[in-house]
């Protein structure tokens, strides 16, 4: 089948502003958008620039705005989108070139929530024990691949770029609810800030955007509840 592919292009060495360009691409309904982008790059315009690596939804390189929703280009198929497909870079982050955005602010938000295990007790000789129920408590939020699809789909983040954003809260949740961790209070303190969990307006864009199927809004609500319980 033929697909009309529109891509928002921007080359800082040549363009004053972003502009749309259209391409006709021969595609199979089971192709992913990444196949189409590679086809354009190889056969029509070698300057088209995007990130990609694993090409099966695990590395998180190719999150972009596809037909108005944040998707991994390697995980969304042509048959799910139709013959007209538009692709633009993630919103709310500076565009470096074409579909490539600058990830620095996103990663600094991630780093700000202390995304690592802090255990006060000395490490035992063997593994720390953890019940299956305790392990299940934070299973969902261990799936995050830091693709930035959720944070850049969030209207609260667009309105207030200082908001720590859903991805950082997901990664804080992963440790706050890990029975082996002893620094939950410090993370809750960070997230009780005006740019923390209270900026979430439960719009659920993040849940729609997450390519890993994480129930992000639920994670944010659990963290919010923990912030409240802590301050009581």
């Amino acid at each position: 089948m033929q697909v009309d592919l529109r891509i928002l292009r921007f080359d800082p060495e040549r363009d004053a502003a972003p502009h749309w360009e259209s391409y006709r691409v021969e595609a199979d309904p089971m192709d992913r958008v990444l196949n189409l982008l590679i086809s354009v790059k190889e056969e029509q315009d070698g300057t088209l620039t995007f990130r990609r690596s694993c090409a099966h939804g695990i590395c998180g390189s190719d999150a972009m705005l596809i037909n108005g929703r944040n998707r991994l280009a390697c995980k969304i198929r042509v048959d799910q989108l139709g013959r007209k497909i538009t692709v633009a870079p993630l919103a709310g982050l500076p565009v470096a070139k074409d579909l490539v955005v600058d990830m620095d602010t996103f990663l600094s938000k991630y780093r700000s929530v202390m995304p690592f295990l802090i255990a006060d007790s000395p490490a035992p000789e063997r593994e720390r024990l953890q019940s299956q129920a305790d392990r299940a408590r934070y299973d969902d939020t261990t799936k995050c691949i830091l693709c930035a699809a959720c944070t850049t789909a969030c209207p609260s983040f667009w309105a207030q770029p200082s908001y720590v954003g859903p991805a950082a809260i997901v990664n804080a949740h992963r440790f706050i609810f890990d029975s082996r961790d002893d620094a939950g209070d410090e993370r809750l303190e960070i997230l009780a800030d005006k740019d923390g969990v209270w900026r979430c307006r439960t719009i659920f864009n993040c849940v729609d955007a997450c390519p890993r199927g994480i129930n992000i809004t639920r994670a944010i609500l659990e963290v919010s509840r923990a912030v409240v319980e802590r301050s009581v």
């Binding site: 992913r32 690596s53 939804g57 995304p115 593994e127």
Partner: protein, 582 residues
């Protein structure tokens, strides 16, 4: 620009991150360069598990793990290295748990373990539960956990820097020179930076993108292997390349061996569980080279499935929804998304997929790069993970041992580099050290006429897939050697379309093709010279293993007229080579 550290780590997968963690914890100034972001490294795609003889569910011993590794590798494994692997697997897995890795748990709260191909109890009696896992995203959790701990330890990352050359002091790396740093290309603006250091670790991963059907990420182009090869250091055992039995049909995306570890079966087009005829004892849990050959033979003999009879099935239906959704969620999703197949109710079409380089940059047990059959050390240069060949995988790697390898030897590399940096003085680097590679890059960027690198890459990948795959013949490998030489010659005249400096991925992909060609050249030449069948190297004209002539590692040195080959002996300590049956 010039940037100095005591240690440099090239590549931020499992091996690189663990090494960086050891260095940072010891207070050694360290820079990590990655052409991606660390969490996008391909360690994150590993699914099924990491083996360690914890014995949490049934009796197990490191000696059994060592034996399985040696036998799985068809006795080409260096047994002193396999002993290190199997012993230190236990402490590294425990340390990962202490770092926060969310392993699945037993009812008692211990790390859960499951079966994996070729891992047995009591020296081959039957399958054993040895693979520690976090659902079917074990590699993802390893990568995340190590990255998290690197942040905690304050590791300095240079994200999206493509390393384009190695710097040596006092001669070439293959000729007595000492590693002094690297030249890095900053992808954001195309600037070259000279990084100086006393110790350089190459943890750059494999080169599966030289094949057309592969589980490997686009980024896996063998950069580190190629860079040492260009500086006169040989590549070891490059003919041994693993084809994983269960790649999604037509795509090569991996479906973890964990599916078979949990009880999944393989069926041919007649619905027959064909492994009964190839490995009656271990069945689907035989080592990967044997299972891939069995699938290939079923298809060749007309027992494949589908309209072209060109695939077989992985069947997990009988495992039930709970096991599939709790222990194999990601691969279930892959089948749904990429083939539109529902594993709960349908068997999944699969074919073998190019997966893992057993060979690579030769190192000793201390991860120091060595450059000849006498194991002469290249001072200051280290390698670990898939890029390296220590050799723990020999002629065929067992499932999960890639993760074990990168953890055990990444950790060793970090500790070894700490000691090296404390003893060594800072190297001297010439001012014009960037010039050779700057010339290469500028020539590529500004050439106005020539053929497309992406078309040439596709040609290389098809050539290698067709001729240096699961089964090999002299005729096929001769075609591969000649074909790669021709592609190499044409590569000198490729033209990129993007002539800009900012985020020029067109240029970098063309550069990566050069690395793939080097690896393919070493692989095809090493393969045709090995006139035996061993592990993953299987040829119809020499169907038997030949321990008299080929119980030896191949060393391929770059030469103007093609690689020259030398051989070094295999280290045998506990297990004398025996016929390999399962």
């Amino acid at each position: 620009m010039r940037i100095d550290h005591d240690a440099l780590v090239i590549g931020a997968g499992g091996a690189g991150l663990w090494a960086a963690l050891e260095l940072a914890r010891a207070g050694v100034s360290t820079g990590v360069l990655t052409k991606l972001y660390p969490t996008r490294s391909h360690t994150g795609a590993a699914q099924g598990g990491v083996c360690a003889s914890l014995g949490n569910l049934e009796e197990d011993h490191w000696e059994w793990h060592m034996f399985d590794t040696v036998k799985g590798g068809d006795y080409l494994v260096d047994q002193d290295a396999a002993e290190v692997l199997a012993r230190e697997a236990v402490e590294t897995v425990i340390e990962l748990e202490h770092m926060g890795l969310p392993f699945n748990r037993t009812p008692e709260g211990k790390i859960d373990q499951r079966r994996f191909g070729g891992h047995t109890r009591n020296f081959g009696e039957g399958p054993v539960k040895r693979a520690c896992f976090a659902a079917d995203r074990t590699g993802h959790m390893i990568l995340q956990t190590l990255y998290q701990n690197c942040i905690k330890a304050g590791v300095h990352f240079y994200d999206e820097y493509h390393v384009v050359d190695l710097i040596f002091e006092g001669g070439e790396g293959g000729d007595g020179g000492r590693a002094a740093g690297v030249v890095g290309y900053r992808i954001a603006d195309g600037e070259l930076h000279t990084f100086g250091a006393k110790a350089v670790l190459l943890a750059t991963g494999g080169n599966g993108r030289m094949f057309s059907i592969t589980s490997n990420a686009h980024s896996l182009t063998g950069d580190g292997m190629s860079l040492v090869y260009r500086h006169g250091i040989p590549l070891e055992d490059m003919e041994f390349y693993q084809f994983h039995p269960t790649g999604l049909y037509g795509l090569g995306i991996l479906l973890s061996e964990a599916a078979r570890g949990e009880g999944g079966t393989l069926l041919n087009g007649d619905g027959e569980r064909f492994m009964t005829r190839y490995a009656p004892k271990l069945m689907e849990l035989a080592p990967r080279d044997m299972v891939s050959r069995a699938i290939y033979l079923e298809i060749r003999d007309g027992r494949g499935a589908g309209p072209k009879k060109d695939y077989v099935y992985l069947d997990v239906r009988h495992l039930g929804r709970a096991v599939i959704e709790e222990k194999l969620p990601d691969i279930t999703d892959f089948a749904r998304v990429y083939l539109g197949v529902e594993p709960l109710t349908e068997p999944v079409p699969i074919v073998p997929t190019a997966h893992y380089a057993m060979g690579g940059i030769p190192t000793d047990l201390r991860t120091r790069v060595v450059r000849d059959e006498a194991n002469t050390v290249v001072e200051g240069l280290f390698a670990a993970g898939e890029a390296a060949c220590v050799s723990v995988h020999g002629a065929n790697r067992l499932g999960t041992n890639s993760l074990v390898d990168l953890l055990v030897f990444g950790r060793r590399a970090g500790r070894e580099m700490v000691a090296h940096c404390r003893a060594a003085d800072a190297p001297t680097i010439a001012a014009d050290v960037e010039e050779p590679v700057r010339g290469e890059i500028e020539a590529l960027r500004t050439r106005r006429e020539g053929e497309s690198p992406s078309a040439l890459k596709a040609e290389l990948a098809t050539l290698m897939m067709d001729n240096v795959g699961v089964f090999r013949t002299a005729r096929m490998m001769t075609a591969a050697v000649a074909g790669v030489a021709e592609i190499k010659e044409r590569y000198a005249r490729v033209r990129v379309r993007d002539t800009g400096r900012i985020f020029n991925t067109d240029l970098l992909e063309a550069r990566e093709l050069g690395y793939l060609i080097d690896g393919a050249e070493a692989m095809a030449t090493s393969a045709i010279a090995r006139t035996e069948s061993r592990g993953a190297h299987s040829r119809d004209d020499y169907p038997e293993r030949d321990d008299v002539h080929f119980l030896a590692h191949t060393l391929a040195y770059r030469g103007e007229a093609g690689p020259s080959l030398r051989y070094k002996p295999v280290t045998i300590t506990r297990f004398e080579p025996k016929p390999r049956t399962y």
